[in-house]
Symmetry: C2
Subunit: 646 residues, 2 copies
């Protein structure tokens, strides 16, 4: 009677069903079982599989193209842009390759390093462009090996512009993109997903439109997985091109490149570079308003939205690729109007995951780096295994040292002058430090009228979740409990909760209350007395810069403080308080007083001495209330401590 | 100010504290971190460490001595006794060595196999006795290697009785227990905990009491970890002996052997064997009542209780060793009156753990074997790793086949005639099978007046927890939903809850509702229609004996159905519904219809054909309600199914 078999892992299940009445021991030997609760299929799929899954599910998607910046400061800004635009849910971003800019180097502005940062530190699926013209085989292999080592999994294979007018084909050289595609497949087998460029109007140097289509087919048949097109101005241009591609047997995904016009000059420059012609109807609108940037951008957004709508409505287009020119406003606006910008992206885990393939099973982290995830990734980048399921079992406990606080992706977004305004040009004592912490919590301006929007331990304003604790946090910071991390207790909220939810829908998330702060030895002495009353309920770790360490953690075991229960899955416990890692975090947390704050002031200046005094004498404390179904007792612990002091 | 450092793992923490301001990366490289959340320190400690910890904590404990039975049936009964007496919380049991009974063989009545069963299948810390007299070095090494392979970690090293009167010391042979102790330490280093015998009155063959004490000291200095004494009749005998031992420098634990007098004849025989003299004051009481077994036992209990009290009150005794003579009543009575029998033993996990050192990290199992844990242990005995933290990662999915359903530790405790009375001498149709299931659930006698106290899938009466579901279970079994496993949903009860609690105190336990049953294809067809309405809420697996398999489990991932949150620890999820193991369980569950039930009847008999029909045509179904905070919907699912059928 029951013939319908709903297999999720069809290959393995069918062998099992065939097993019939034979023993299960045989059939269960196959390797089909998933090694980790796949909360987020995205992390385990190649880009081409993600595309296929989205297409099959009828989900429309978008992607974003960026070019590497010219200066280190611009790189810091671009990374913030990655974080912000990444929140909208692009399927991938891509980073262009600039042969003149030493694109494969370790410079913070190189294509390679920007792509590396996007993948590893911003958690974005990333395509690195690569051109082959005028390059040796060894150079190219070296670039590809480096890309692979850094965790990049996708290459856009391009010819690039020949240097000089008298360019001639080299025998056995890399003359066309197809040579690079073949090389990637020869040397790296199926490791990379390979993308190639398509020209809806034909490549400007091609003999003909038809000849160009044949070249494109060659690239695809040499092993390219999908095609992104050059920009175009009319939807029918793309749709005709797509039909022509299909007619000659190109069946892979073809993604239209969308260029929202953002200004008169950028348009002119782009048109010149790409040798495209702007249609008369567009010129007619633009020419009269060419000095009105806002008007041009509005028109560009309007035009892009209407073109994208037509493409999506055709039923032939499932994803849209945006040439952002490293700008945010126009593209975001288009995406929002199309309804494909994710306003409330579902978080697969409570922290931002990295997209390096090595880390795809990672699903546990210590809570300490919650506001400095890039530093955590940096300090664990050499790990071969990442904790998965439990912290204790699978993590390498050896954290890399954080020596260079000025790595561009770890750097504060605010320049020194701004920091001084926020944190005080001149400190008069520990009290003025308490004030800075309090202003950061409350969002109120400081005594000089400046809002404190970041702290050395947190480069962003207070998280929405922390806002839940705002009143209590304000009270304790005023009195010298200088909080740097906290979370409320949660007793089973739906996984779709807009503030504390994460993971697939249909689940329930839980938290133990957590509080982490710096405080004076006087307060610690009182606190320890109070904690005796809470011995069975509250776990604590108290440590100073010299490593003096007081804890009641049983056997130095990690304490799970965030976990989720989902349909059909094992328990996920993405955040732990781990006594061993806390000592690595301690080094970083104390160093930030000096590196980010004290060094703003002259050596020997009173302000610097105050910060130095705090660094040398304060303790870093963390507290966990294990009784998550009851009201958080940590505020009472602090209250009792202050009472004892009075 | 803060000088008191409360270190749990002092060795590693101190090196860490010494690290001072240097980077945490160095200090965190040490191997001190616990690889698993130690819920139950007992599982990770050696016997001598457990003794020391109990002594330090002032906890009084007891242990139980058994001898190997003569027949296979008696072995089945002894194993049940292990389970029952194990529930009272002995620190260990020990199994004597009977040189005449082929004690190292694979026979089900051998000392080796009984000890193996106690460790692996009953989860008891076990000492295997071993005698050395008249044995070759190779024989002894062979026995020790086998014991080690089976997971035995403790040996009681004895001389044994020389065979024949004219025994003489062999040069380089094993003449005394001390030779065996030395041999164990030479060949197996520190692997085994070694126990030796002490004689409070001196060994009957010793030249003198003092000479015997010197021999005992030799045994201890050769490497014995503790001493268990021969029985004695007066507390002062033991206390004097203990002082004398200490006086000559014996500092290891000395455990008094307690013999509750249980009958006139057994006392006489024991006295003869041990060459002890029964004190006159005991003889005076016993002789007049020598034919009144009950009176003698009562006196024996009385006497043992008063002697034990005196020993414990002396402050020198922390544990008591009981010579049970394989009987339950007297020893249990003494222990209960002493208040050291654990009435409500805390379960470290919801299932009974095995004591094999290989399995000490095991903390996840599929729910299917909940009522057949010994079968699960048997089928996974060849695994090198046991799942720890997550099922998916660390378990070998290859279950051993279960071919021999008659292994004595898997065998039904009830003989064939009793089973026939319970399950029906003659079945008249599927309905009469429904009745058997229903009677098992309700506890009401069947139509012939017999209570159904076991089923092929469950050798014990209904668990207290299942009792919570009794009314609903009765209703569905009557109508052909033949339940074999179930659990209610639990949304955060204290870990100390007497029915569903487990793990250390201060925690919270959770469950998803689970229901597993056999049912006809007609009901399955209706059920599948109903399940469409519950698609997002209920996970199901439906399989027949041929392996046809219908499931909505995402990616064949395991679903955690029991978990616990504890202070200062990672999440423990000891029970999962695993789609892959379900297919191994299916083979066993279907085979039990035939092996345990159908085979009670003549071949070709109508009763046998009915069971065979069910085996061939029914489906095995499991259902999980993922919404554990809401009311269990599985009853509604079944209700809807019946409604659809009407």
């Amino acid at each position: 009677m029951v013939n319908e078999t709903q297999h999720t892992c069809s290959a393995s299940s069918s062998s099992r069903s065939d097993g019939g009445s034979s023993s299960g021991s045989e059939s269960s030997k196959d390797n089909s079982r998933c090694s980790t609760p796949v909360l987020d299929a995205d992390r385990h799929e190649r880009l081409r599989e993600k595309m296929r899954r989205r297409q099959d599910a009828g989900d429309k998607w978008f992607s974003l193209e960026f070019f590497p910046p010219r200066t280190a400061n611009a790189a810091v800004n671009l990374i913030s842009r990655f974080d912000r635009m990444g929140a909208g849910g692009p399927l991938f971003i891509d980073v262009t390759w600039h042969p003149a800019g030493d694109p494969g180097s370790d410079k913070e502005t190189s294509s390679m390093i920007i792509a590396n940062t996007a993948v590893n530190y911003c958690g974005l699926e990333t395509i690195l462009h690569m051109t082959c013209c005028n390059q040796t085989k060894d150079d190219i292999t070296g670039h590809l090996q480096k890309a692979k080592r850094l965790g990049l999994k996708n290459i856009m294979a391009l010819r690039g512009d020949p240097a000089g007018e008298e360019w001639e084909e080299e025998v056995d050289g890399f003359n066309y993109a197809v040579d690079l595609v073949k090389h990637i497949r020869n040397e790296f087998d199926d490791y990379f997903d390979v993308c190639v460029a398509g020209y809806p109007k034909g490549h400007p140097e091609a003999e003909s439109y038809e000849a160009d289509l044949r070249h494109l087919k060659e690239k695809v048949f040499a092993g390219a997985d999908f095609i992104i097109t050059q920009l175009f101005f009319r939807p029918e241009t793309f749709l005709k091109f797509m039909k022509d591609c299909q007619a000659i047997g190109i069946t892979c995904p073809i993604i239209p490149g969308i260029f929202p016009i953002q200004g008169y000059h950028s348009l002119r420059q782009l048109v010149k570079l790409s040798k495209l012609e702007v249609p008369q109807e567009i010129k007619d609108v633009i020419e009269p308003i060419k000095d009105n940037d806002a008007a041009i951008r509005n028109y560009g957004v309007e035009l892009a939205v209407s073109m994208c709508r037509e493409l999506l409505d055709s039923g032939m287009v499932h994803g849209l690729h945006f040439y952002t020119l490293n700008r945010e406003v126009a593209t975001t606006e288009v995406l929002k109007r199309l309804g494909i910008w994710k306003e409330d992206p579902r978080r697969p885990l409570p922290w931002a995951v990295s997209a390096h393939p090595k880390r795809r099973v990672e699903d546990v982290r210590p809570i300490f780096w919650a506001s400095r995830p890039k530093s955590y990734i940096y300090r664990t980048q050499e790990w071969d295994d990442f904790p998965n399921g439990r912290w204790g079992n699978s993590s390498s406990p050896a954290f890399g040292e954080l020596k260079d606080y000025y790595l561009f992706y770890l750097k504060s977004k605010s320049p020194r002058e701004e920091l001084l305004k926020m944190w005080g040009e001149e400190l008069t004592g520990e009290e003025s430090v308490f004030e800075v912490f309090t202003c950061y919590i409350t969002g109120e301006p400081n005594r000089n009228g400046y809002k404190v929007t970041c702290m050395p331990w947190n480069d962003d304003p207070l998280a929405t979740e922390t806002n839940l604790l705002k009143d209590q946090l304000e009270k304790v910071n005023r009195r010298g409990i200088l909080t740097i991390n906290s979370q409320p207790n949660i007793n089973g909220k739906p996984s779709t909760d807009p503030i504390v939810g994460w993971g697939p829908s249909g689940g329930y998330v839980f938290q133990k209350a957590y509080l982490e702060f710096f405080t004076s030895s006087e307060i610690v002495t009182a606190l320890l007395k109070v904690l005796k009353k809470y011995e069975l309920r509250v776990n604590y770790h108290i440590v100073n810069v010299k490593g003096q360490n007081i804890t009641n953690a049983p056997d130095l075991q990690p304490n799970a403080v965030t976990w989720g229960i989902f349909p059909g899955r094992e328990i996920i416990q993405p955040t732990v308080v781990d006594p061993v890692s806390f000592l690595s975090w301690k080094d970083e947390a104390f160093a930030l007083w000096i590196e980010q704050w004290a060094k703003l002031y002259e050596e020997e200046s009173p302000s610097r001495m105050i910060i130095q005094y705090i660094h040398d004498n304060y303790y870093l404390v963390n507290l966990v209330d294990n009784d998550f179904p009851l009201e958080n007792c940590l505020w009472q612990v602090v209250e009792d401590t202050f009472e004892l002091l009075n």
